[in-house]
Symmetry: C2
């Protein structure tokens, strides 16, 4: 049943032959149909149909110098948050006729450089990258010396002159910490993940800002990873249980809750816990998690939009787009009254 004609040996030449015209004419029918007479146009179209001809993108790209390809580099293709951003960007860009290559680095900087090179040699026209960790000189060198358009999304290497779209991590954590302090929490623990990403550092700064501004002295900062298990471990090792725990993301907050529950504390009666991200499951956890919602999809969509501007309007002034967050109140926080003198 295999239609021999329709396999990859069909090229523009065979179409031309079948239609009895030159290959130039076939090409024109495809790219600029009005420029060829109706008669020939029909013949050619019939031949294309009959042969199931699809132009070879490779050859086309080589000739035109345009691949219509956008590359994505993200730390982990298994993390839905990154992919929601990617989807946002794609939703914008696919209407402009681009196709996509998305690659994950597994949080590995060497891999990140490898992928950067790979995408470049595939002649992508633009790239959107969410950085994997500490800055790398190879990465910077390559970025500085290429002229394919690029935008950083969610995380960036700060000293590279590349447009960035992200979220106001600092203010986000600051707002939710403010909320905790202003609702009476007097002792706080911040559970950070790895400090080698810009977003992690920004969130930490938000916590510090809030705690300083309110002159809270009873606080502690712990470093681990951005995982459930890390939140769990760090919490278990706590000597003194604070009135509130701020997780660097939802996962560590959820881990903390698990640990606290096992230790016999109840949430939020004994201790309040908050997170950051508002990932899909946080609203369904028991108790449901008070956290900071990031406009993940919008971030990606915006990144796509900015990349498109770069691509079409040529260079643009360095644009940093910072989106705002919302704190979403749910069940893991309970106001406290620590200061009976005040009452």
């Amino acid at each position: 049943m295999k239609n021999k004609a329709e396999n990859n040996s069909t090229n523009i030449k065979s179409v031309a032959q079948m239609a009895g015209v030159s290959i130039s004419t076939v090409s024109r029918v495809i790219n600029n149909p009005e420029s060829v007479s109706e008669e020939l146009r029909n013949k050619v179209r019939k031949a294309i149909e009959a042969l199931g001809y699809q132009p070879n993108q490779i050859a086309r790209s080589l000739r035109t110098g345009s691949t219509k390809l956008i590359g994505f580099i993200i730390p982990d293709i298994t993390n839905p948050a990154f992919l929601l951003m990617v989807k946002g960007a794609q939703d914008f860009l696919k209407r402009k006729g681009y196709t996509f290559m998305v690659c994950g680095t597994d949080h590995n900087i060497r891999e990140e450089v490898k992928l950067l090179k790979a995408l470049l040699s595939q002649n992508v026209e633009g790239m959107i990258v969410t950085c994997s960790g500490g800055q790398n000189s190879d990465f910077s060198r390559i970025v500085n010396s290429t002229n394919v358009k690029m935008v950083f999304m969610d995380r960036r290497y700060e000293d590279l002159n590349v447009p960035y779209v992200g979220v106001d991590n600092t203010t986000g954590v600051e707002k939710i910490t403010d909320y905790l302090i202003e609702s009476g929490h007097r002792s706080l623990v911040y559970l950070s993940g790895e400090r080698n990403t810009s977003s992690a550092r920004e969130r930490l700064r938000g916590f510090v800002n809030s705690v300083r501004r309110h002159a809270v002295v009873d606080f502690q900062i712990l470093y681990g990873k951005f995982t459930f298990e890390s939140g769990y471990e760090l919490t278990k090792r706590l000597k003194e249980i604070p009135q509130a725990i701020v997780g660097g993301n939802d996962l560590v907050a959820l881990g903390a809750i698990e640990a606290l529950t096992q230790m016999g504390y109840s949430i939020p009666e004994d201790v309040s816990v908050v997170g950051f991200d508002d990932m899909f499951y946080s609203k369904y956890s028991k108790p449901s998690l008070t956290t900071v919602r990031q406009p993940i999809y919008e971030m990606g969509y915006t990144a796509g939009k900015i990349l498109y501007q770069l691509l079409s309007k040529g260079n643009i002034k360095k644009t940093n787009t910072i989106l705002q967050t919302d704190v979403v109140l749910r069940e893991t926080v309970k106001p406290r009254n620590n200061n009976p003198k005040r009452g």
Copy 2:
């Protein structure tokens, strides 16, 4: 600071010029270094280094006919389960030097056909696809007429002669239903999602098999979607609450639990609930979900391996690889004793 030499105008010709050799020699240094004298080899390498030259993959592909590109088509790039499979396949294939294009259809069949065409015209050498829904004649026609290698992963279009690697959905659901029935549950509800995917139909069959084999008569099958919300809605609409609910996946099971809880039932004291997937969060839900674990990553890895065989050894007999599942016992099931006469 931009190194003008390193931008995309560097091609094999400029390297040749700088090194004072022909382009053939440069090409040889890259692809078959031993075939050129040490002297020239060094000169060329120095020039490559100095110019930051990277071969243009497009041109190379055009000439060699080999792109080293693998395409993925999955229903939703935002769903971590699909991406874990993709990662499995990539982990195998990337060691063989392939790069990847992964595309999501948003469960849309038209989009699926579009992507299939797009990937084909990008000259991918192989594809791994997880089908989006009901079969489509365009899709079949294209698949039958191309000779790029392909394998179906997790879901398939049954009448296409394409190797498939999946999971024994039927036996999976059958085992967990057996477990429920054999631990005393006498009235069951199965909450299915959309019936247009092979895996959904297989799971449903598992439920029916078990219920028939045990001659259970008090059961009901409800159709919705594979979402939390659907599980919730379907459960809320239940006239009579059964002793056990089997969710077509974890999400609908979790939705069912939420609904039951709101309706005043406690899990598992009043009703047992099980799911299918063992997604990341199921072990952390409260109570933790008894479910069926699928070897998601392994499925992808196997798909990658099979595709590679196809790619290297040419055609292969139709291989269907079916991986087995495990039921994982957690807290949402409680044995019942319905038959006091037995005791």
